[in-house]
């Protein structure tokens, strides 16, 4: 006993006392699916690229590459996407949604300024894929297939690539230098593009010039052919007509033709053709585009005639808003009953209990030199007609969950399959089809798939989704008050005389501000709160944003979970 006076035991640390035994519930770090990612039709990992962008200029390229992993059109997206991510954003319930689209545009434009390219890392597979249609869906598929090592040839009927991005979306929403830059960045990766090449018979195209035997007798149309698989995405370019009783001299055209003509420079409706007063019939985004284009072409009056109310308009709210700012007039609850030179007969409608418009028998006249029909578009399905197994319904091609048509090896996507018709959805189809085609090609022998198929058989199946990160799971106290930034917009008076881009982009500092408004719902962003608030020092910090619960000492009080801003810690019952 050589201990000091009155001391009988050695001094020890309380660390010998494992207080973890008190616990009935334990904190567990989770990764939840943020609502933005869940809503993105292109399947972008939005939260991840915002996280990268938050760190400032040094990480912008990493953020851009994260977008490019899913979507090769950030600069286009930043202009034309209807932002389902922002509609879903949890921050909307706190102050206003994060301007995800603004940040995407900034990153997309920054990539063009810096000339960032995407390398093809995969070894060539020797497989050849035909893509029919150089629209957003076809280009997206070509991009992803190329990155997977496949050889892609795109055939398109148009004079320039881009599909509806070029021939449907006016320049004031999507400047052509931006579109060209992003399209050619894909083509420069080694994609072969054949323009002015309308594919009328997919089977003949696949067989190639060397085919000799009768196509209908061939068991495998890919055998000895030019290609090993095909993705068809020809879009929906045929303006839907409606029967409208019309006088001989009534001038009627459809919006698709009008917008297409604008782009080709033919401008069939310039000045005298279009007239001074233009009526547009329909309530979708195309109707807004047509009316706003007419205004820019010199029409002093552009009137949108729609049979329901504004709330029921399929057009996106921002487009309606911008159209109204530009002096576009709206006639709600109206149908065109008769058209003749210089005027239209409009019948007033009223909504019945089911919200369907019913005629009232009340008529009025509307002066209009020209009627533009924007009543929706149909797909030209002739390219797939006669292909064994391919089925159609309601004017679109039937496809499985992997986007394969009824014929093995032939896939379809974009506006010609049943889905919402937006650029973002089409780009998402391209990605999905590329993965499915890759899995299908692998199932035909050759090599293991780049993206491992996880579904039954050989189909590609996405990994299981995580639980959704709900607003209620956040502790919003910790997010600094920060109202959204607003993108600059051209003044309405200047817009109607020019096709200059209406909406401007954010500069570097405002884009960074906007990225930092992200709340990182459901996924740790390294705020150290759990590490700080634990009264038992039972959260270990292994590095920036890397933590571990020390279950030897965690008493299970739940403070870390309660004070986690983003809801990335869950209390789970202690395993018995």
């Amino acid at each position: 006993m050589d201990k000091p006076f009155a001391i009988t035991l050695d001094v020890g640390s309380s660390r010998a006392n494992h207080t973890g035994a008190w616990r009935t519930e334990r904190p567990v770090y989770v990764d939840l699916l943020p609502p933005c990612n869940n809503a993105c039709p292109s399947g972008e990992n939005i939260q991840q690229w915002l996280y990268d962008a938050e760190e400032g200029p040094a990480r912008y390229e990493a953020a851009w590459r994260q977008i490019m992993a899913d979507n090769p059109f950030p600069a286009v997206m930043g202009r034309v996407c209807y932002r389902p991510c922002e509609t879903a954003c949890n921050r909307a319930q706190l102050d206003s949604a994060v301007g995800i689209n603004s940040v995407e545009r900034f990153l997309g434009d920054e990539a063009l300024r810096q000339g960032w390219q995407v390398p093809v890392a995969a070894a060539p597979t020797g497989r050849r894929v035909l893509v029919v249609g150089a629209g957003p869906s076809g280009l997206s598929a070509a991009y992803h297939l190329t990155r997977l090592g496949h050889q892609v040839t795109i055939k398109d009927a148009g004079a320039e690539p881009g599909g509806m991005m070029r021939y449907g979306i006016p320049k004031y929403r999507l400047p052509r230098d931006i579109l060209d830059a992003e399209v050619y960045r894909i083509l420069d990766m080694g994609v072969t593009l054949e323009l002015n090449t309308r594919v009328t018979d997919i089977q003949a195209e696949l067989a190639g010039p060397r085919s000799d035997s009768k196509l209908s007798e061939r068991v495998d149309i890919f055998k000895d052919g030019e290609f090993d698989a095909a993705f068809v995405a020809v879009g929906a370019h045929i303006g839907r007509r409606a029967y409208i009783p019309a006088g001989d001299s009534a001038r009627i055209m459809d919006a698709v033709t009008m917008l297409h003509g604008m782009e080709e420079g033919a401008v069939p409706m310039s000045g005298p053709m279009l007239g001074r007063r233009v009526a547009v019939y329909g309530g979708g985004n195309t109707a807004m585009d047509a009316a706003r284009t007419a205004r820019r072409l010199g029409a002093s009056e552009a009137v949108v005639v729609y049979r329901r109310t504004r709330e029921r308009m399929p057009a996106h709210d921002s487009e309606v808003e911008e159209a109204l700012e530009e002096g576009i007039q709206m006639r709600w609850l109206s149908t065109v009953a008769h058209a003749e030179a210089g005027k239209l007969l409009i019948e007033k409608m009223k909504l019945d209990e089911t919200g369907f418009p019913q005629p009232t028998g009340e008529f009025e006249e509307l002066e209009a030199d020209c009627l533009v029909l924007a009543l929706g578009q149909n797909a030209d399905l002739s390219v797939l007609e006669g292909v064994p197994g391919v089925a159609f319904s309601d004017g679109v091609v039937e496809v499985g969950p992997d986007l394969m048509t009824g014929h093995p090896g032939i896939f379809a996507g974009g506006d010609m399959v049943p889905a919402e018709r937006t650029v973002t959805v089409a780009i998402g189809h391209g990605k999905k089809a590329a993965r499915s085609i890759d899995a299908w090609l692998c199932s035909q022998g050759g090599r293991p798939p780049q993206t491992p198929p996880q579904g039954a058989g050989n189909a590609y199946a996405a990994p299981a989704k995580h639980g959704l990160a709900e607003f209620g799971g956040l502790n919003t106290w910790y997010y600094a008050d920060a109202p959204a930034t607003v993108r600059p917009r051209l003044e309405a008076a200047r817009r109607i005389t020019t096709f200059d881009e209406v909406t401007g982009g954010l500069d570097e500092s405002t884009a960074l501000f906007e990225a930092r408004r992200c709340m990182s719902c459901g996924n740790c962003f390294g705020c150290d709160n759990c590490y700080g608030v634990c009264p038992d020092n039972a959260v270990l910090k292994l590095g920036d944003g890397v933590y571990e619960i020390d279950y030897d000492y965690c008493k299970g009080c739940g403070l870390c979970a309660a004070e986690c801003p983003c809801g990335a810690i869950e209390m789970q019952p202690e395993p018995s």
Binding site: L9, D10, V11, G12, S13, S14, R15, A16, N17, H18, T19, W22, E54, E55, G56, W477, Y478, Y479, A480, D481, A482, P483, F513, R516, R517, C518, M519, F525, G526, C527, D528, N529, Y531, G532, V533, C534, P535, D536, N537, A538, K541, L542, G543, D544, G545, D550, D552, Y553, K555, G556, C557, G558, L559, A561, A562, E563, P565, M571
Partner: protein, 356 residues
């Protein structure tokens, strides 16, 4: 606003850490190498506010003094749960004597260090509200009067929790404790009693007096660090919720403290030589019922019927704090703009004359 809020849009300086900040802007608690003055294995209850507050404050003092510090502890929960013989949770030089004499022992330690010429070593005295407000009051007042070179920290959980939740001089009106049961005409603790030690400390005109809570780490660290800029007597009063005594959920410890400040019931401010120099504005004001409802010690205010007249008196006390300490500056958008808010300075005379 006593310290510069970081103008930064995500969590700014509201969360413990921030991966986007430069090293020198980060909080002590966010650093992987913090000293953990109070380490694991202590026997405090789940969600103990005092264990948390003590580590927050002492780690900050530890950094400010480069580890050259001695802590003198009064009897109380903090002492009992951290040092059951022969174990200790303290990773700093630490001394315990009696319940009521911690300020006097701390004065003695400071005097001894001075005699030894070790003025580089700083002294911290600390205790709960029982040891500070009631039992140690005379020693504390003497330490203030002599202006001994000690920072005294009171971890205020508003009752004698260690011995079974008996009322202390810091127990708020209407709160139920073992000795102020929720029975009779005025259930719970009586109105018009108790002591406000931060104001008593200010009346001694010592160099530095401040209040803080475990809900605002950055503010707490700033004040513990700022206190070490002074020599002579200093006083730091930290509100530390007690899940056991307050009847709040262990996971709600920080939330309760946050609601105490956001309702105005616990004013967060700092003062130099008897005058308030700044106060922390309320960010999102809440009615006192938000604070009261989540604590079982106030359950009798809501069941079997809502005691609106009692709640109104508590709300009036919160409103008085807001007016008195300038907790709602005219420009409440200060937080949004990131600009410092104008803070009215109250004269020490005015503060001393207003009773509770």
């Amino acid at each position: 606003m006593p310290y510069q809020r970081i103008k930064f849009y995500q969590t700014g300086s509201l969360a413990v850490g921030n991966r986007l900040l430069a090293e020198d802007q980060r909080s002590v608690q966010s650093t992987a190498g913090r000293s953990n003055a109070l380490t694991c294995g202590h026997r405090a209850c789940q969600g103990c506010g005092e264990a948390l507050g003590a580590r927050y404050a002492l780690d900050a003092v530890h950094r400010a003094t480069q580890g050259q510090m001695i802590a003198v502890n009064a009897t109380g929960c903090l002492e009992v749960f951290s040092t059951p013989f022969p174990e200790t949770s303290w990773q700093i030089a630490w001394l315990h004597s009696l319940f009521g004499n911690a300020p006097a022992v701390a004065s003695g330690v400071a005097a001894a260090l001075k005699a030894m010429g070790r003025t580089d070593i700083r002294v911290v005295g600390q205790g709960g509200d029982g040891g500070t407000v009631d039992i140690g009051m005379a020693c504390l007042s003497g330490m203030f009067e002599r202006n001994d070179d000690v920072l005294y920290i009171c971890y205020d959980n508003q009752a004698y929790m260690n011995t079974g939740v008996q009322r202390s001089g810091a127990t708020p009106p209407a709160a139920r404790t073992a000795t102020t049961q929720a029975v009779g005409r005025e259930p719970g603790n009586r109105f018009g009693q108790g002591k406000n030690v931060p104001l008593i400390a200010m009346a001694h005109e010592i160099g530095y007096v401040a209040t803080a809570t475990v809900a605002d780490l950055r503010d707490l660290e700033y004040k513990a660090t700022r206190a070490m800029d002074f020599h002579g007597a200093r006083y730091l009063h930290i509100l530390v919720p007690c899940p056991l005594g307050w009847g709040s959920a262990p996971a709600d410890t920080i939330k309760v403290a946050r609601l105490a400040t956001e309702s105005g019931l616990f004013p967060v401010f700092e003062a130099e030589t008897g005058a308030v120099t700044s106060s922390t504005p309320i960010r999102h004001r809440v009615p006192v019922t938000d604070y009261l409802r989540i604590q079982a010690r106030y359950a009798h205010l809501f069941r079997p019927r809502e005691r609106t007249e009692v709640i109104a008196r508590i709300q009036a006390a919160a409103d008085r704090n807001i007016a008195r300490f300038g907790l709602m500056p005219a420009d409440i958008s200060a937080e949004r703009t990131g600009l410092p808010a104008p803070v009215p300075v109250t004269s020490p005379a005015g503060l001393g004359l207003e009773g509770r």
